[in-house]
């Protein structure tokens, strides 16, 4: 999964605004406890991915995240000793001891799993829709060499993946017994070191060794920059304010308490509206 410039409002927004937007969604996922609020955040992230044209990337991330979410739910249901509503009595189990599966532990596990899903989707949205070079340029004024190292790592991952695929293909072309894993690891490591040397030489001849701090680029704020920055601020304010005001109360133990009143429903709708609002304006999104 990597960034590709698409014609979408999120891609058209400056990296700072895109970062803030994704960060706000991640914070909302971390601050939310109520399943409805958390579900709304997950829906907002998925909707943003679809609206940004990176639905396939998010689907791929979801294929990894969903089993993880299910695993978290199952593990919590099996290991948590709290909760009053027993669903299943499993009796004495090896390692786990006496195990009762309770409704509260299962729901709490599902909330944790949903949060993990939302955070992974949020990471996927950021990776696919926010220009990493522009993000790193923001940080290069603070720590130039660290930011460049991060850029190189990002750039080299697909290069090394291709190298690994080539090495694998070459080994499949060898007749007879395949070489040992140790030999392959040694060959792969040598290849990586060769690549590193080549890249280091390229950096030298591009003047990296005597690099100056990059200048501050001044760029007028576009409608999309403003919209996503405002959406980020609104999502953060909503999440923090609802937590402080107790709009979406939730506690799992000892017995489940998750009222689905108008307040929490309104909060969910507001979060989704704030997250998807900036996508309504599609003027000037191409390049």
């Amino acid at each position: 999964m990597s960034y590709r410039r698409l014609a979408s409002p999120l891609h058209a927004a400056r990296a700072g605004a895109g970062c803030a937007y994704c960060l706000a969604l991640a914070c909302a996922a971390l601050l939310a406890d109520h399943p409805i609020e958390l579900g709304a955040v997950a829906v907002a992230i998925a909707g943003a991915g679809l609206a940004a044209g990176v639905g396939r990337e998010l689907r791929r991330a979801a294929l990894f995240a969903l089993p993880l979410a299910v695993a978290i739910t199952v593990v919590n249901a099996l290991v948590a000793r709290d909760g009053l509503t027993v669903l299943v009595r499993l009796g004495q189990l090896p390692v786990l001891g006496h195990t009762d599966v309770t409704l509260e532990a299962t729901v709490y596990g599902a909330v944790l799993g949903l949060r993990a899903l939302a955070l992974i989707l949020c990471g996927a949205l950021y990776t696919a829709a926010v220009d990493p070079d522009e993000v790193l340029r923001l940080f290069r004024r603070v720590s130039f060499r660290s930011a460049l190292t991060a850029t190189l790592a990002t750039r080299m991952v697909p290069v090394l993946v291709r190298d690994a695929r080539r090495l694998g293909d070459a080994q499949r072309c060898r007749p007879g017994r395949p070489p040992s894993r140790v030999a392959l690891i040694r060959a792969a490591s040598t290849g990586v070191l060769d690549r590193a040397l080549d890249v280091a030489a390229a950096l030298e001849v591009r003047g990296y060794g005597s690099a100056h701090r990059p200048p501050r680029a001044t760029r007028p704020w576009s409608r999309h920059d403003v919209a996503f920055a405002a959406a980020a601020a609104a999502i953060l304010v909503l999440s923090i304010a609802s937590r402080v005001a107790g709009v979406a109360p939730f506690h799992a133990y000892p017995s489940l308490h998750a009222p689905a009143g108008l307040g929490v429903l309104g909060l969910g709708v507001a979060l989704i509206a704030c997250a998807l609002g900036p996508f309504a304006d599609r003027r000037g999104i191409g390049r």
Partner: protein
């Protein structure tokens, strides 16, 4: 005004037994376009690395003498400081492009110089326009083709408007069209901006017409430093392996060498030696290298199927369609008879490598079938990928090593990665051939001549010619094709567009034609200088008889 001044420069890599550069002295003026010629290992790359300051600052080693670039002495200034004056482009663009997008890549050297934001924006824009890559500016560098990546790397080298640009075999991974475009681009930059360019190349016939001067390296020393016509005259006796095919052709009929196709034709025409071009075909008649794919190629294949033995390799309507992407192969059909030597040509991205992978079973067609009469040995583009053991002897059996000419006992204990490029290529070939119980029915080689000098290409052609198996070679090098292939298949957009004898396909076009064929206009189907000389001899004899 001198842009580069080298005085008695000698250099040895750390731990090397012999010097890579010996007593090199030269001066380059502003606006010169210099071609650096020489066999592999002659010191071309080392000289370029010395000019860019990587030697000795990056590689270490021992250096004597003096090298001054745009007033900066390389003893006191490292490559990063020299980067303001020297733009450098190496062979492999993959490791020279370090940023995620093309725009960021072009901006990187300017940012390193501490340019202001408006100056960076302008520099990026101007470089992109000059190189014709404006449409790529917002593309991710991971999505670019080899040719596009090479242009972007060149853009990064030129973005700071350096006084001197050094390029190490920049066309070795490009198809003939992209290679010619790059040379034209360099000539234009040289003329428009007065940029001095030093270009190391093996395919001299491609770049000599654009050059003002040629410097030939022999064993780390300058063997010749002259204008292209004088260089060719020197090469005739001093370094025959550096002669262009055109120069060999003219020398064969007692003429002075000419630089490029047009002067060579003029020289032959002046003496009345230029044979008439083949007559234009009647409507409906197949042309040489033209629409052979249609009825004639199918007819040929049918005849081969009807009359000959079972094919060594047969691809029948093979499609390779990427999920959510384009079709790389489109109903591609191809047959190789046992022992037949076939060259597969076409632009970068035409589907040559994919076809080879299907032939060897590394990929499965999304539609269509692949049959082979036995094992298909495939040598991929990078021979180093095959080398996983500590010694040459551990990589392949002695019998297989002997087949590829590595039977000398001195090779056995050496680390495969310490071998030269040509030796590594042969060792990788030994590895894929190495199964005495199951000898390959087909041997496929993907771009085996990248970065090889003429002598090594000749050795490889001899090796392939001696192989009993059917041979399929994907290459961009028409001169190499002429030396080994019976038949040429031209691939475009995932399907063969021409399929016929080498003499027919390689003598009928411009980009996929040898220099001899282009000079003679395809007369007599001559592809190599020796064949051309025979055609010219016949013309001469006919004129004598007529006169």
């Amino acid at each position: 005004m001198s842009v580069l001044s080298i005085e008695r420069l000698s250099y040895s890599y750390p731990g090397a037994a012999r010097s890579a550069l010996r007593d090199v002295s030269l001066e380059l003026s502003a606006g010169e376009l210099v071609v650096l010629a020489g066999a592999s290992g002659s010191g071309k790359s080392t000289l370029l690395r010395a000019i860019s300051g990587l030697v000795p600052h990056f590689h270490g080693g021992e250096i004597t003498g003096r090298l001054v670039v745009a007033g900066l002495d390389t003893r006191a200034h490292g490559p990063s400081e020299l980067a303001f004056a020297v733009g450098t482009l190496f062979q492999d663009p993959e490791t020279q492009v370090v940023m995620g997008t093309v725009r960021a890549e072009l901006a990187f050297p300017l940012e390193n110089r501490g340019e202001s934001a408006p100056a960076i924006a302008r520099g990026v824009e101007e470089t992109a326009l000059a190189l014709g890559i404006g449409h790529l500016l917002d593309r991710s560098t991971n999505e670019l083709s080899g040719g596009e990546l090479q242009r972007v790397a060149l853009g990064a080298a030129l973005a700071g408007r350096p006084a001197l640009v050094v390029l190490d075999e920049p066309t070795s991974q490009l198809d003939p069209v992209a290679g010619d475009e790059l040379i034209s681009l360099l000539r234009r930059l040289n003329e428009d901006a007065d940029t001095t360019i030093v270009l190391a190349e093996h395919r001299l016939e491609r770049c000599l017409p654009a050059a003002d001067r040629v410097i030939a390296m022999i064993d780390g020393e300058i063997g010749c430093d002259a204008a292209p016509p004088e260089f060719l005259r020197w090469a005739a006796s001093g370094a025959p392996e550096l002669q262009t095919p055109g120069a060999r052709l003219l020398a064969g009929v007692g003429l002075r060498p000419a630089v490029g196709v047009k002067p060579a034709r003029a020289a032959l025409r002046e003496l009345g030696l230029l044979p008439s071009p083949p007559e234009a075909p009647e409507p409906g008649e197949a042309t040489a290298g033209g629409p052979a794919p249609g009825r004639s190629a199918r007819g040929r294949r049918r005849r081969r199927r009807d009359s000959g033995p079972a094919p060594a390799l047969a691809l029948r309507s093979v499609w390779h369609e990427l999920p959510d992407g384009p079709a790389i192969l489109r109903a591609c059909s191809l047959e190789l008879a046992p022992g037949e030597h076939v060259a597969l040509m076409g632009r970068n991205g035409a589907g040559k490598s994919t076809l080879m992978r299907h032939a060897a079973g590394l990929m499965r067609p999304t539609r269509g079938k692949v049959h082979s009469a036995g094992r298909v040995a495939l040598l991929l583009q990078n021979p180093t990928d095959y080398l996983v053991h500590e010694t040459v002897a551990a990589e392949a059996s002695s019998r297989s090593l002997a087949t590829v000419g590595l039977s000398d006992p001195a090779f056995a204990p050496r680390n495969p990665r310490d071998l030269s490029g040509g030796e590594r290529q042969r060792l990788a070939l030994a590895i894929v051939l190495d199964d005495p119980e199951d000898p390959p029915a087909v041997v496929c080689l993907d771009e085996p001549t990248r970065g090889m000098d003429r002598r090594r290409k000749g050795e490889l052609a001899e090796l392939l010619a001696a192989m009993p198996a059917a041979v399929l070679v994907a290459t961009h090098d028409p001169e190499f094709v002429a030396s080994f292939a019976d038949r040429v298949v031209l691939l475009a957009d995932g399907a063969p567009i021409a399929d016929g004898p080498a003499a027919e396909i390689l003598s009928g076009g411009t980009y996929f034609a040898t220099e001899t064929a282009r000079i003679l206009g395809g007369a007599g189907g001559a592809l190599q200088p020796e064949q051309g000389i025979a055609v010219l001899d016949t013309t001469l004899r006919a004129e004598v008889i007529a006169g």
